[in-house]
C-alpha cells in the first residue's frame, strides 16, 4: 500500500488523478490540510456548502462511529457525530460533525452510493460543515485528502502578504533593497490561499511554499501528510511527511509560517518565495537584500 500511495502522490504531482470521490455533491472548501489550529495541524479538510448528504469517498466498511448522547465515550468529542470507514489497502476515511440522527448505525458495509449521513454542526463546529480526514494505516500517516480527491477548479493564487526576518528575537519586515546584518537568520512569511468560489476573503493554507536563495532552494513546506515522530520527551508528535516539521516548527502565528534559516553573507543576496495552491496557481515574491559588511 505504501508503494501505491507514493505512486498516487507522485502521479498527482504530475497531473490530476483521483483515487476517491468527493463526499458531498457541493464541495466548498472551507479549510485545508495542515492549517494552524492553535496547537496542532488541521489534520483533514473542511467542506461547507450547506446541509447535504455525505457519501463515502469509496466503498468501505464501518469501523467506528459515534453519536453524541448515545455512545459511552469517556471523553468529549470535538468531531461531534462521526463515522469511520475502512477501504481497501488499509485506508480509512473519517467524516465528522454529522447531523444528529443522520447516520444509519446498523450499516456495516457501504457501497459508495448510499449516504452515510448528512452534513451537520455537531461537536466543535461553527456552521454546518463536513470534516474529512484520510488515514493510511499501513503507512501510519494522515494523508492530505486534496491529493486523492478530484481537483477543484480555482484560479485564485495564494497571497504572500509579508516576508519577515528574525535575526535575533524580533521580527523585521523585509522590503526589496533592505539592508540586513550578516549572519544566520530565520525567515518567516505571512501568507494564505484564497478561493474564487468563496465570495469573501476566506483564508486557507496553501499546498506548497518554497524558498530560494540566489536561485537555490533552501527550504520548503509541503502539506502532503502527517506522520508520528517521537519527540524529545518520548511523547509522539505529528510532523509533515516531507521535511519532518512539527506544528511548532511550521507556525509562528496563525498565518505566519516559519520557512527556514538563511545564511546572510556580506554583499547582495536574492530571496525568492513561491506559494502554490492545490489547483497549481502560484504567487511569488522576490527580494534583493543588501547584507552589510
Amino acid at each position: 500500500m505504501k508503494a501505491v500511495i507514493l505512486l498516487l502522490l507522485g502521479l498527482l504531482s504530475a497531473g490530476p488523478l483521483a483515487a476517491f470521490d468527493w463526499p458531498v455533491k457541493k464541495a466548498v472548501l472551507s479549510a485545508t490540510f495542515g492549517e494552524n489550529r492553535g496547537d496542532h495541524f488541521h489534520a483533514g479538510i473542511d467542506l461547507a456548502g450547506g446541509e447535504q448528504e455525505v457519501l463515502p469517498i469509496a466503498a468501505g466498511e464501518v469501523v467506528f462511529s459515534f453519536e453524541e448522547g448515545e455512545d459511552p465515550l469517556p471523553m468529549p468529542v470535538g468531531l461531534g457525530n462521526f463515522l469511520v470507514l475502512q477501504h481497501q489497502g488499509g485506508v480509512r476515511s473519517i467524516y465528522g460533525h454529522l447531523q444528529k440522527g443522520s447516520m444509519d448505525r446498523s450499516a456495516r458495509k457501504l457501497d459508495g452510493s448510499k449516504p452515510l449521513g448528512r452534513v451537520g454542526e455537531t461537536g466543535y463546529s461553527v456552521g454546518k460543515h463536513l470534516h474529512l480526514a484520510i488515514i493510511d494505516s499501513e503507512m501510519r500517516s494522515l494523508i492530505n485528502p486534496l491529493l486523492v480527491l478530484p481537483p477543484l477548479k480555482d484560479r485564485q493564487a495564494p497571497v504572500i502578504r509579508e516576508i519577515l526576518l528574525r535575526p535575533g528575537g524580533e521580527l523585521q519586515p523585509l522590503k526589496n533593497g533592505a539592508l540586513v546584518m550578516p549572519g544566520i537568520a530565520e525567515l518567516l512569511a505571512t501568507l494564505y490561499d484564497l478561493r474564487e468560489d468563496v465570495p469573501f476573503a476566506w483564508r486557507l493554507a496553501p499546498y506548497r511554499v518554497s524558498l530560494y536563495q540566489d536561485g537555490r532552494e533552501i527550504a520548503s513546506l509541503l502539506m502532503d501528510g502527517l506522520h508520528e515522530r517521537p519527540a524529545k520527551n518520548g511523547a509522539p508528535e505529528l510532523v509533515l511527511l516531507q521535511g519532518n516539521r512539527s506544528f511548532r516548527e511550521v507556525y509562528d502565528a496563525e498565518w505566519l509560517y516559519k520557512l527556514g534559516e538563511v545564511r546572510l553573507l556580506p554583499g547582495q543576496t536574492t530571496l525568492s518565495l513561491i506559494a502554490e495552491d492545490y489547483a497549481g496557481n502560484e504567487s511569488s515574491r522576490e527580494l534583493v537584500l543588501q547584507v552589510a559588511q
Binding site: 467506528f64 470535538g78 508520528e228 511523547a235
Partner: protein, 356 residues
C-alpha cells in the same frame, strides 16, 4: 438391586432436601433493600447550601443540568451544561461548544482558575489532573493550573478511548494500538491486542488499584484482553473472544471492589469474575446507559427500555435487589458509599442500600 435402592434413597433425600429449603428458607439475616432518602427538583427553587462546612459533597448530572449535592440532599451548586462538562470531586469545567478557555470552578461554583486552551477538557475523578483532547481527537495534552503544557502527545490515528489512573493515561486508538503514557508524557508501553480482521480499540479501563487493564478491541472477531501489571509494564493474562460486533465505543469498567469486569455485550451486560474467571450475562431490554458500582459489591445498571429506562440494582453474582422502569430519557448513576444518586432530567434522587 441393592445399589439401585441406595440410588433411589439418595435421589429422594436430595428432593426432600430441596423441598425443605423451599418451604423453610434459611434466613441469612442480611436481606438487602434500597430505601429512598430524598428527591430534589433540578435546578430547584430552594436556596443553595452555603459552601464549606461538614458533610460529603458529590457531583451529579441530571439531564442537561449538573451540580454538587450534600449527603443530606442540600444542593451546593447547579448549572446548565453549556456544551459539555468535565466533573470531578474538587471542581468542574463547564465548556462551550467552541471552547477557547477552560474555567475551573469549585463545587460551590467559585472561580478557581482559567486558562486559554484548545480542544475540550478532561479531568480525573479528583480534579487534580487536567487534560485537553484536541477536537480532531489526534492529540492529548496535560496542562497545569497556569495553562502551562506539561506534555502533549499527537497520534496519526484518532483517540477512540481514554482511561486515567493517577498519573497514567491509557489511550486507545482507531488503528488498534493502545499506549500507556506516564506523568512526563512518555509512552512507557505500546501494545496491539491479538489481531482481528479489522484492528480498532473500542474501550479501555484501569482497575481501581491500577494493577489491571482491560481492552476491548477489533472487529471480526471482537476481543477482550485483560492485562496484569508486572513491574513497570503490563502483560496479557487473559484473552476472550466476544460474540459482539460493536462498531462504536462501549462501556467497560472494573467494579469498585476490583472483583468483576463489567462490559457491554451483544444483548446486555457481561460480568467477568476476575477471581474465578467465570462470567455472567445480564440481559438488558436495550442499550446500556449508565453503570456504577460500590466497593462493597453493589452494581447499578441503567438501560434503555423502549421509550423509557430500566434501572436495576444487584450484586454481580446474586439476583436483582431492585428493578424499576422509568419514563425519563436520560439517566445518571453514581454511588457514594452505599448511597446511589440517580439523575434524571429535572430530578435528582438518592436511595440508600440497607441490610436488615
Amino acid at each position: 438391586m441393592r445399589r439401585k435402592r441406595s440410588r433411589r434413597h439418595l435421589a429422594l433425600g436430595f428432593v426432600l432436601g430441596l423441598l425443605y429449603l423451599l418451604v423453610f428458607p434459611v434466613l441469612s439475616g442480611r436481606e438487602g433493600f434500597f430505601k429512598p432518602a430524598w428527591a430534589r427538583a433540578i435546578p430547584g427553587a430552594q436556596p443553595l447550601a452555603p459552601a464549606g462546612g461538614a458533610g460529603r459533597v458529590s457531583w451529579f448530572k441530571a439531564g442537561r443540568w449538573f451540580g454538587y449535592v450534600r449527603a443530606d440532599g442540600r444542593l451546593l451548586y447547579t448549572a446548565e451544561t453549556l456544551h459539555g462538562v468535565a466533573l470531578s470531586d474538587s471542581g468542574f469545567i463547564n465548556f462551550a461548544k467552541v471552547a477557547e478557555n477552560f474555567v475551573f470552578q469549585d463545587p460551590a461554583g467559585r472561580f478557581q482558575f482559567g486558562i486559554h486552551a484548545f480542544g475540550y477538557p478532561v479531568l480525573d475523578d479528583r480534579g487534580g489532573r487536567l487534560y485537553s483532547i484536541s477536537t480532531n481527537l489526534n492529540q492529548l495534552s496535560r496542562l497545569d493550573r497556569e495553562g502551562e503544557l506539561a506534555w502533549s502527545g499527537e497520534f496519526f490515528s484518532p483517540i477512540t478511548s481514554l482511561a486515567l489512573h493517577e498519573e497514567e493515561c491509557l489511550v486507545g486508538l482507531l488503528d488498534g494500538t493502545v499506549k500507556l503514557i506516564d506523568v512526563q508524557g512518555k509512552i512507557i508501553q505500546e501494545f496491539v491486542p491479538q489481531s482481528s480482521r479489522i484492528p480498532v480499540i473500542l474501550a479501555t479501563a484501569f482497575s481501581p488499584d491500577g494493577r489491571k487493564l482491560a481492552v476491548v478491541s477489533g472487529i471480526d472477531p471482537q476481543r477482550l484482553t485483560l492485562l496484569q501489571r508486572r513491574g513497570g509494564s503490563f502483560a496479557a493474562e487473559q484473552v476472550l473472544e466476544l460474540d459482539s460486533d460493536f462498531r462504536r465505543g462501549l462501556a467497560l469498567r472494573f467494579t469498585a471492589d476490583g472483583r468483576f469486569l463489567a462490559f457491554e455485550a451483544a444483548d446486555g451486560l457481561s460480568l467477568l469474575d476476575l477471581g474465578k474467571r467465570g462470567s455472567k450475562r445480564l440481559a438488558l431490554p436495550g442499550r446500556l446507559l449508565a453503570l456504577d458500582s460500590t466497593s462493597s459489591g453493589l452494581l447499578a445498571v441503567g438501560s434503555r427500555d423502549g421509550e423509557g429506562l430500566r434501572l436495576e440494582l444487584l450484586r454481580p453474582l446474586g439476583s436483582p435487589l431492585y428493578a424499576r422502569q422509568m419514563a425519563a430519557g436520560e439517566l445518571f448513576l453514581r454511588f457514594d458509599g452505599t448511597s446511589l444518586l440517580i439523575g434524571l432530567p429535572s430530578i435528582l434522587l438518592r436511595v440508600d442500600y440497607q441490610e436488615g
